[in-house]
């Protein structure tokens, strides 16, 4: 969760929606996109997701870079690479784009690959509607408040997320230390596995100790003592959340109906 809520000036309307609404709204479309095969359906939903993000979220350089550089390039590379993997027998009726010796790249393969890349991009972009406008704590709060997820689990998960950078740092230290000791010298996958195994014990020992300490510190502050806890930020399910979800579903249904059978 790298989005810093305090940094937001005017965050845009998406930030005022329940995190759960932002997750539920694109869900049906995401499921259909998993099975869709054409290029138009994913591109339509990609456009819809981008439209929402552009209108509903304050634009920052990092987000712009992600949406207009990272995601398209990633999807294109992925799509072209997947195109090379497509079974040539399925597409050998389409014109050839490239011939290297006996191997032929058919236009159909490129199209299948790009469609796949577009699907991945569309699914990701739909996920970003919630991902770029919601903080981890808000998602936990909404889950606790609306879905009745026990707060002990939700907040323990948040505390656990904090462990990740610490463990990454600790792993780096252990790697350095083992390298200096000349542990498991050698190249190749087997040496790498052996090296990795050597990191496990110290990392685990540190992790367990750290987790125990955090748990004690949380206990000492009465965490988990009562069936619920004060919520300073109420994230109620408002009418606008219902409207947003229903509207998104309606648009999804209309789009999907118009584009049926999505290349199946």
């Amino acid at each position: 969760m790298t989005v810093d809520p305090s940094a937001a000036g005017s965050p845009g309307f998406l930030a005022h929606l329940s995190p759960l609404a932002k997750l539920a709204a694109p869900l049906p479309a995401m499921i259909v996109l998993v099975v869709a095969r054409d290029l138009v359906t994913p591109l339509t939903f990609l456009a819809l997701a981008y439209l929402l993000l552009l209108v509903g979220r304050r634009m920052s350089w990092r987000v712009a870079a992600l949406l207009f550089v990272g995601l398209p390039i990633g999807a294109a590379i992925m799509g072209l690479a997947l195109g090379l993997w497509v079974d040539a027998a399925l597409v050998d009726d389409t014109p050839a784009v490239l011939r290297v010796g006996a191997w032929t790249l058919h236009a159909g393969a490129v199209e299948v690959g790009l469609a796949t890349g577009a699907r991945l991009a569309a699914i990701l972009a739909l996920g970003l509607i919630a991902g770029l406008t919601t903080t981890g704590p808000d998602l936990v709060r909404a889950s606790v408040q609306q879905l009745r997820v026990p707060y002990r689990i939700g907040y323990a998960a948040l505390a656990a997320i904090r462990f990740v950078p610490r463990f990454a740092y600790e792993l780096e230290l252990i790697r350095q230390a083992h390298r200096v000791r000349g542990a498991h010298g050698g190249r190749g996958p087997f040496a790498a596995v052996a090296r990795g195994a050597g990191y496990v014990v110290p990392l685990l020992a540190g992790a367990i100790r750290h987790a125990e300490r955090v748990a004690l510190a949380m206990d000492a502050r009465a965490f988990g003592a009562h069936p619920d806890r004060t919520e300073r930020y109420l994230l109620p399910w408002r009418r606008r959340d219902t409207v947003f979800v229903l509207a998104f579903w309606a648009v999804s249904a209309a789009t999907l109906a118009a584009l049926f059978p999505w290349g199946l």
């Binding site: 969760m1 810093d4 305090s6 903080t135 981890g136 704590p137 907040y155 948040l158 505390a159 904090r162 950078p165 610490r166 600790e170 230290l173 252990i174 350095q176 230390a177 083992h178 390298r179 200096v180 000791r181 000349g182 542990a183 498991h184 010298g185 050597g198 014990v201 110290p202 020992a205 540190g206 750290h210 300490r213 955090v214 748990a215 004690l216 510190a217 949380m218 206990d219 000492a220 502050r221 009465a222 965490f223 988990g224 003592a225 009562h226 619920d228 806890r229 004060t230 919520e231 300073r232």
Partner: protein
Amino acid sequence: MPDDPAPLLHLRGVAITHEGADAAAPASVSFDVRPGEVVLLLGPSGSGKSTLALASNGLIPQAVPARLEGTVTVRGMSTRETPVATLARHVGMVFQDPDAQLVTGSVFDEVAFGPENLQMPVAEVLARTEQALRRVGLWDRRAENPDRLSGGGKQRLAIACALAMGSELLVLDEPTANLDPAGIEDVYAALRDVAADGRSVLLVEHDLDAAAELTDRVVVLDADGRTIADGGVDEVLRDRADELDALGVWLPVSTMAALALRRAGWDLPRLPLTPPELHEALESADAPVPRAGDSLLGRVEERPEPRPDLHSAHPAVEVSGLTLRRGRRTVLHDVDLTIGAGEFVAVVGANGAGKTTLVQAIAGVLAPPHGTVRVDGADPATTALRDLSRRIGFVFQNPEHQFIAHTVFDELAHGLRGRGLEDAEIRTRTTRMLARFGLEAKADVHPFLLSGGQKRRLSVGTALIAGAPVLALDEPTFGQDRARADELLQLLRDLNEAGTTVIVVTHDMQLVAEYAERTVVVHDGRIRADAATRDVFADEALLREAGLRRPALQRALRGVTRHPQLAGITALRDLAGGRG
């Protein structure tokens, strides 16, 4: 006052046995903390002070598997049955590791976390959080991620978290053990404010120089964890200082200095606890009449000066024009440094100054650019690590990080294997190293099952076994208690006297003053000063600029006008009869 019907915290005959432990530690503790009191809990390593801290709010026995005998009550409520959450309204905890107490993503949320858990109304949560953050001076940083605070800032945040719970009693378990000198000052400034509000404090602390002036009462445990002293600061620290010293309890440096001076024949009727008190005591005392052989002045002059001419003849480490970048940031700028064979050098500086990076580059942990570093004639950039390990050994901050074998024996033998040595030779040399570090009985034990002090000794042993004449250590005393730190430093001094060149990165200024003959001050990636330790500590402006502080002893002795022979002394061992 002694028969106060409801002391805040009341302990009688408390013995705690951790699950799987053979003996109770502490074995029998009795004392009270009354409203408004600041109580300092002292005792040697292993006496169970931290365990006792956990028992003060019911974490033991309710959250930690351990057997509790005797009585612990908070405001008359037994900690055995009263839920921790209820006790948490009265007792707030601050632990040693600042990073292991953070739960949320902002300073404000962190403080609000406790009151929220107590189901307080929102308005009250907000009011308490604001009040607590203002009290420790973090209100302006309330929107920040707690990770961005310094170590001292994080501990102040932990104090605020305890205050917001409404705690009348604050229990702090070695709150400054992981901090640099500026961080320690920071935490004690906050604690002074808390005490001034009339709240009680139970403080487990080794750094008595910071704690002594704040303390009302001192409780001392012996090695088994039995209360052997409980009284006012004067009554315990002043009148029974000799006894505590013999027990291995660390005393304020000023007190230790006075004990040493007494042994040298000085007449100091009232033992000082703080630098100003020592200063005052010395100004009003006569120097003892020197006797042949043991005069203070004579001793000072006897101390060998650093031998620069000898060093330049055979440098152990040569650094020239070393610039290192990490990502886009330049961590070291064009550093030049020469360390002679047989020197004991301290590398000091504030957090992030680049001192660890410098020493890591010397030891080949980080690859330095070609031709910028030479260790014993070899360039770490082009030397295989196995060969480099015969020239320089590096000891990481956390010894566990560098253990790679399943037994202590193999851990040591690893550095010898693969070099064409015969098995018998490896066995002999490993056994010799085990004996040297007092680990013979532990040869077949897994390194992770050793005690903290043993782990540290083993890590030094692994760095030395390949025969390295240079030993570099990164914060070897970080997070350790004084007794262990002392033991390690004694070991390093022995090695140094036997000819090993020692390079230590540390925050502990008194340690530097005691052991290092030369001190290198790193500031903003540059060497800000490189001189004899006493000269570095003589330069107040330099220390301030580099985020460092004077060691307590020097603060006391500087400016003693009546005995000019004392004014330049920074190390306890320079006072005749001192420890070590």
